[in-house]
């Protein structure tokens, strides 16, 4: 794209403007081109049903990505989100299937577990001064390990046999399963609705509230933010707790969709979520973590994967495609921005 702009331009001003436009709108343009391409290649792609399949497939990753966006805004990073989502899925399944409790306690206990991990992350980073990547990598392993202990490493399914030889008597309540499977007006899946609301809230929070702006101030220059009176430690802690809460919400939606406590289901989430948040840096030339960009990033990857699947691209090409999009986006953000100086 930069070569194209250079050949069309007449002077340095012109090419600068092209470059600026490329940086701002490049990724949205890529998304539009992808949609146009797939609709032409496979008319079924544009059906409402398929579009909601894309949105549904992206909703859980997007939730986690919005959480990691918050920690990136304060200049940190949360690698434990995938593990927290998996843990929340296991907790909810355990509470309902093994303990036989209802949907509400299962949800609340899962969220509380997530918040606890967020507090642990925040405490490690803020109080113990462990660098964010190391702290959340540590807690990631911790959480992945902890969630396997109650079931002895096995997945939780209705009617599974327990270690004491009895059969689990609980079931997933219909209300809980509706969280992952019901559709509003028979079209909009509940997870898509939840993610939309959360995305709007995170966007408002980061762009329009005082605390959101202080998040960015802390992420930009922690020391300057502290000297301007920002409660740096409290807000960093808040960011990690929010991130973990969103991750466990993602885990709950996943549990509701799967209808079982699958031990391996949270594993791929962290990389996808991180990728989406990083791609988000490039959207509208933000060069910083932002909710809108994160959402676009998640959508971009999901759309691409959906379209490729429709065109019978092999499943093993998926990670390659994700990587390609991420590298392209990072190039938009950093490489071109550097040249625009």
């Amino acid at each position: 794209m930069p070569d194209l702009s250079a050949s069309l331009s007449t002077g340095p001003d012109r090419s600068q403007r092209w470059l600026q436009a490329t940086i701002r709108y490049g990724l949205l343009l890529v998304l539009a081109l992808i949609v146009v391409f797939f609709s032409v290649a496979e008319p079924a792609f544009l059906r409402v049903g398929n579009l909601f399949i894309i949105l549904q497939s992206v909703s859980i990753v997007a939730l986690l990505a919005l959480g990691v966006t918050l920690t990136m805004a304060v200049g940190g990073l949360d690698l434990s989100i995938g593990a927290v989502a998996a843990m929340s899925l296991m907790i909810a399944s355990y509470v309902m299937v093994v303990l036989g409790w209802g949907a509400l306690p299962a949800t609340l206990i899962s969220l509380a577990g997530g918040a606890l991990v967020g507090l642990l992350n925040g405490w490690l980073i803020v109080r113990m001064r462990v660098p964010d990547i190391l702290a959340t990598l540590g807690s990631m392993f911790l959480v992945i390990g902890v969630q396997l202990i109650p079931t002895g490493g096995r997945s939780i399914a209705v009617g599974m046999s327990l270690p004491n030889g009895e059969e689990a008597e609980g079931t997933f309540s219909a209300l809980f399963l509706a969280l992952g499977r019901a559709r509003l007006w028979d079209t909009v899946p509940v997870p898509v609705l939840v993610t939309t609301v959360v995305a709007l809230a995170v966007w408002l929070f980061l762009e329009r509230t005082r605390i959101g702006r202080l998040f960015y101030a802390i992420g930009g220059n922690e020391q300057a933010a502290r000297l301007a009176g920002a409660p740096v430690q409290r807000y960093k802690l808040l960011a990690y707790v929010l991130s973990a809460l969103l991750a466990s919400l993602g885990g709950l939606l996943l549990a509701a969709r799967l209808g079982r406590g699958d031990v391996s289901s949270g594993n791929g989430l962290v990389l996808d979520a991180l990728g989406a948040a990083l791609i988000g840096f490039a959207v509208l030339g933000a060069k910083k973590p932002n909710a809108f960009g994160t959402l676009v990033g998640a959508l971009l990857v999901a759309t691409l994967l959906n379209g490729l699947t429709m065109l019978n691209a092999p499943y093993y090409a998926q990670d390659f495609v994700k990587g390609l999009v991420l590298v392209l986006a990072l190039m938009f953000t950093f490489g071109l921005a550097h040249r625009a100086r």
Partner: protein, 534 residues
Amino acid sequence: MSSLVSPDSLSAEHLAAYPLSPEPLVRVRNLSKTFGANRALDQVDLHLFPGEVVALLGANGAGKSTLVKILAGSQRQDTGEVWVNGQSQRFSSPLSARRVGIVAVHQQVNEGIAPGLSVAENLLLDELCQPGADFWLNRQRLLARAASIAAGLALSLPLEQPIECLGQAERQLVVLARAFALQPRLLILDEPTAALSDTEAQRLFSLIDTLRSRGVAILYISHRLSDLQRVADRAIVLRDGRLAGEFGAGQLPAAVHAMLGESLDTRAFEPRLPGRVVLSWRGAKVAAHAQAFDLDLHEAEVVVLTGLLGAGKSEIAEVLFGLRPALAGNLQLDGVAWQPGSPRQAIRCGVFYAAEDRTNHSLIPDFSLRRTLTLPFLERFTRAGFIRNRAEATAVQAQVAALGIKTAGIDLPMSALSGGNQQKVVLGRWLLGEGRVLILDEPFQGVDVRARREIGQLLRQSATGRATLVICADLDEALEIADRILVVRDGTVVAEFPRAGLSRAALVAEVAGGTTVVPATSPHSDSPRSRASA
């Protein structure tokens, strides 16, 4: 300015400055450089001769840095030629400029510092970067080389300590020592004394004298006229990217006139009657070994703390702002016992502080003027936690107008502003609050003469309702704004001068305290950054 050289500026003295070296070391012809719509340099001609110190003057944005960057190889000119020793040169990198003997020390000290390496390794960074340098590091030899470089500047540095343990001043000295060790033929110094105290600056000047006698050409950039008066043989003035004149050593006022396009009026100083005591600190102690002192700050009064680097000026301010605990003493704010535990608490009580290092301690990368200005008092522009954009913009516009901040818009990033305007924003954000005490640490760093005057006036004009404490190592700057000057030495206030009947000589003597030795840096002496985060 149509004539490049004012005819009256070519005095006999000036012409006699380099009779022995008719061949210039560096000759610059028709140098131009454009950034977007902005002509940073416009057909600049310039000669630099061996063995002379040439001052480069210009207000912020006049094109000094661009000229320096082209000469030093970190930027390329659009048109024009640079000749070194009779050979046309077009530098592709700082390394290629260095090969012909041009070495530049840039204003941003931290650009010359590699964190994570020791002081010795930093001193030897250039040698370590040489393509032919040894593969294996030999610690003994490294230390010996570094020691000899440090000795060349009579520096006593903790060579084996990490560079982070040095303060700004020592880091500046390390960067200068590195440049000297390269044995340059043209040495470019950009604001080398910005972080240095008087004594350290004097030592730098004598080193410059030595280099000059060895035939090194020096291009010296500074906003401090006293520095230029001390070292410069000749002054070149840039204005709006063009050469605005060339002046002999004795014509600095004329040079300043050319630089600003007008002469600075030395405004009459209006002394203020101090009001009641706002802040008092009896039996104050900021260092374990220091003697206790008393500090009283009055309403409407501007007090300047001056002294050498490492004398303990900043430490006093940091205690008042809750960045470090007071070791002793009875601290009162408006007559009530008071002990700030954090900057946040201090700000709540109306004690405001603008730290010395603007880039690292006040500004946030990518934050616009508006966001930077409203950061500490953002809650004023919020309703139920949400920012009221219109109210914020109105307040920012008003403050921009009141402080005379020059900007094309309030949503531009701070990096688009000149140093002086950035400093006005940093000052202006504390003026948004109802302060009881305003503390400014070196507010004139990296600020041109005109902006300095304006900031000084703003400070005095706004001082009525609060006590003002300014930390200022430069005595001329101190004299411009102070109602009362306190001299700090060895962590304690050793002398107090009311403005009336103050003699500069007495002040200098008190600051130096009979010793000219820079206090050796102890390994645990910490920078404000590490202190604040501790």
